[in-house]
Amino acid sequence: MNRNAISRAGLGRVLTAAAVFALASTGPAAAKESRSYVLAYFGHAVASKEGDCQGGLNPKLDIQYAKNMQALGMPGAEIEKLMKNFGDEGQSWDKNKIGQIMNTRARVNGEAENTFAHPAAVADANLKYVTGKVAKGFNLDGAADADAFADPDTGEKGIDNQVFRALGCVDPFRGTLASGTAFWLFMWMAEKDSMPAWLITVEGDDLSKDGPVDVILSRAIEVTKFNANGEARADMTYRQDPDPRMKANVFKGEIKGGIVNVASQANLHMMQDQLTFPNFDLANFHLRLTSDTEGRMEGLIGGYQPIEQVYFALGQGGLAAENNYSPELPGMYHLMRKLADGPADAQGQRWSISTAYHIKAVPAFMAVKDTGATAKASENTANR
């Protein structure tokens, strides 16, 4: 077991004990310095501000459901009668008339169908979206479009984060990097103890200096190890999952001013968890991570993500999910379709949307089995 000699200057100064070692021989010792980290937090990158939703936030569920029933053509008196019992239907599905109506408010060829599997067949609720000027994320297209956001901290223009724009006027999706959002705090808490951990490795000739690096994202066999306070423990050892589906996640980047940056044209493909993203794909993968004095990393990853993936994370719980955190899941789908800014297909349809995720990571040891050469990032596909 080898442990790389690590400079303690520059990036290395703040990245303490972590290093990569190999269980299996991989030939002559590599000259590169490597540092690995394990994911400690994951959630949407948000920067909500007072007044950033013109006309206020989207309505609460009871108001929206009454509107939805109107859209279905139900008489006002019947809606009023049903809504008097809203929230008092109890656990019995038979008695939950509102739930039954809302669960099948899609109309496919005129037939009532499951709302959440057929969001395009639900009348657009025309939800409000973020009209504010700031958001966290990346300038994915390299343009400083007038309608793009600016970073609230750095002032960088041209920030593309249409997922934030689409979801940002719904209460559980509002927050800041410091606070997180209610949605993602719940989701992360639900999956962090059972989801195979994500690993991030930074490799370069000298991580104490500015210069080119490789940034590698992979997955562990183990889940992230947390302490009694729910914080990810540093310097734990993880076995890298040799699954070839994630071997292409090697990205060219650079360290500049102690910040690790990736501004790639390549695609990230990760596997996360059924609860949110069984597949997690980002085209034009971007990453920006800064380390603190304890060697922990924090920052953003971003790119264009398939709308299906984003919507699945929101809507796979069906009516329960809508009742928990959204006034209108199909409305959020419609917004994402309208605001999508990823590459257009041959028919001019855009099926992916710019987004950014806030991540935290702590130093970790990564045990790597020799499973062959690393594939190229270009071998990845964004829309699996």
């Binding site: 496919v108 599997a117 057929h118 059972s194 195979p196 699954d243 059924q274 069906g318 329960a320 999910a321």
Partner: protein
């Protein structure tokens, strides 16, 4: 051998008769003869979309069933080894047929009926299916869909298999249960549990850790200082019970034996339900009381990600196609992280409902023409007439992306399904209630 080395080693255990005969082992009896299957009851079949049922209801009871999965019953009116249910009775209670080539196994015998036909009997009682049962997991004509949370299963859905009270089972008829089993005399501290990874009902100790038998007693002496196999100690005053006898070893330890073989625990088993010693050393085997049937062409391989999974003869992992089920708390990537739902497997059968052409990389795990269902294994007939093995209702497949034993590169391969227009209905071959997914999952015991 360290625990970590044991954990990462890749082992294959063959179920073939030839391999087992070579070890000169006294085999544990099979739980089911050819044509008799095992089925969970009620909601544990995975009917409906009440998410709190299939995911959390314990599979607390298993019944014997026909090859089609229909529950078997016994009649209190019958005599041992003799069926008195004839004529109209036999139109309602269908005698369990005996397939060609089937042979009796533990507790199962073949009896002759008055009309000369043959019928299975369990513990001397003739067994029958019920004409009103249509679905696997039924009792007395009550489909598992009726075993709903609340009305029949308790307010929290914690009991899966109570007979619905509004349609009770006919008087004088009883369900033929495989589990719970009749109590057997055991020494203090021993129990019999189903250990899935050991493929049967297995002896466990007071911690519910799997016990193993050693075929060749000489191996115990050559195991070395770091031997991971620890003799199961017998108290000095312990007395033998039937097949369980304490013996004094040369090293002064008094050890329990079962059927004349020393009993051991394995250091690599850290929690109840593990059988990590299975396949590590052919001399040591799980102390099976009853073993479940598995086809000769199926092996069990281990990998560091999922532990034991089914594989074909070459060690290629076998997979099931499953449908997404929402479960708060996640963990689906873990072994047994998603509930087995035989009803979903039967819905999909041999059609994986791929978005793209799966035939390019997923291949059916074919069964011989003579294959018949038994235990947890079933057989589907494909459109081209070929037969395909199924496990607990799920047709089995191999993945071209796996190149060596232990590879599980197709595990958790997801395809999302949702409609993007008002003309196309989502059809995944099984019920859903939101944007949904089908995925491949490594098949495991």
């Amino acid at each position: 051998m360290s625990v970590s080395k044991i954990a990462v080693c890749i082992a294959a255990v063959s179920f073939s008769g030839a391999a087992l005969a070579a070890t000169k082992t006294v085999e544990a009896p099979l739980s089911t003869p050819k044509g008799i299957t095992l089925q969970p009851l009620g909601k544990t079949q995975g009917y409906g979309l009440d998410k709190t049922t299939a995911a959390v209801v314990p599979r607390d009871k298993l019944v014997f069933a026909t090859d089609a999965g229909l529950t078997l019953y016994t009649s209190e009116a019958d005599q041992p080894g003799k069926s008195l249910c004839v004529d109209a009775c036999a139109q309602t209670w269908i005698p369990a047929k005996v397939m060609a080539g089937a042979v009796p196994v533990d507790g199962w015998t073949i009896i002759a009926r008055a009309d000369g036909s043959k019928q299975w009997a369990y513990k001397t009682r003739p067994v029958y299916s019920f004409v009103e049962d249509k679905d696997p997991g039924s009792i007395g004509g009550n489909s598992p869909a009726r075993f709903s949370r609340g009305e029949f299963a308790g307010s929290r859905g914690a009991v899966s298999s109570e007979v619905p009270k509004d349609k009770p089972l006919a008087k004088g008829w009883n369900v033929a249960y495989f589990f719970p089993m009749d109590k057997r005399p055991l020494p203090a501290g021993f129990a019999i549990k189903e250990v899935e990874d050991a493929m049967g009902m297995v002896l466990v100790d007071a911690r519910e850790h799997t016990l193993y038998t050693l075929d060749d007693a000489k191996r115990a002496k050559t195991c070395g200082d770091a031997c991971p196999w620890t003799p199961v100690p017998a108290p000095a005053i312990a007395e033998g019970i039937d097949a369980f006898q304490p013996v004094w070893r040369d090293d002064g330890v008094r050890q329990w034996t079962y059927n004349g073989k020393g009993l051991y625990t394995f250091a690599g088993d850290l929690i109840a339900g593990e059988a990590n010693g299975f396949g590590v050393d052919k001399a040591w085997k799980p102390a099976q009381i009853i073993k479940h049937f598995a086809p000769d062409t199926v092996t069990l391989t281990s990998n560091e990600k999922l532990g034991k999974v089914f594989a074909d003869k070459t060690g290629k992992t076998l997979y099931m196609r499953d449908a997404f089920i929402f479960q708060s708390g996640a963990g689906h990537s873990l072994k047994r992280g998603s509930p087995i739902r035989p009803a979903v497997g039967r819905d999909l059968a041999t059609d994986p409902h791929c978005k793209d052409d799966c035939s390019k990389s997923w291949r059916p795990f074919l069964a011989p023409v003579s294959a018949e269902a038994s235990g947890n294994w079933g057989v589907y007939t494909r459109a081209d007439g070929a037969k395909q093995w199924a496990y607990q209702g799920y047709a089995l497949w191999t993945f071209d992306g796996d190149s060596k034993p232990g590879d599980v590169n197709g595990h958790d391969d997801y395809q999302l399904f949702m409609s993007h227009d008002a003309k196309t209905k989502v059809d995944i071959g099984t019920p859903y209630d939101g944007p949904t997914a089908l995925y491949w999952i490594a098949a495991h015991p």
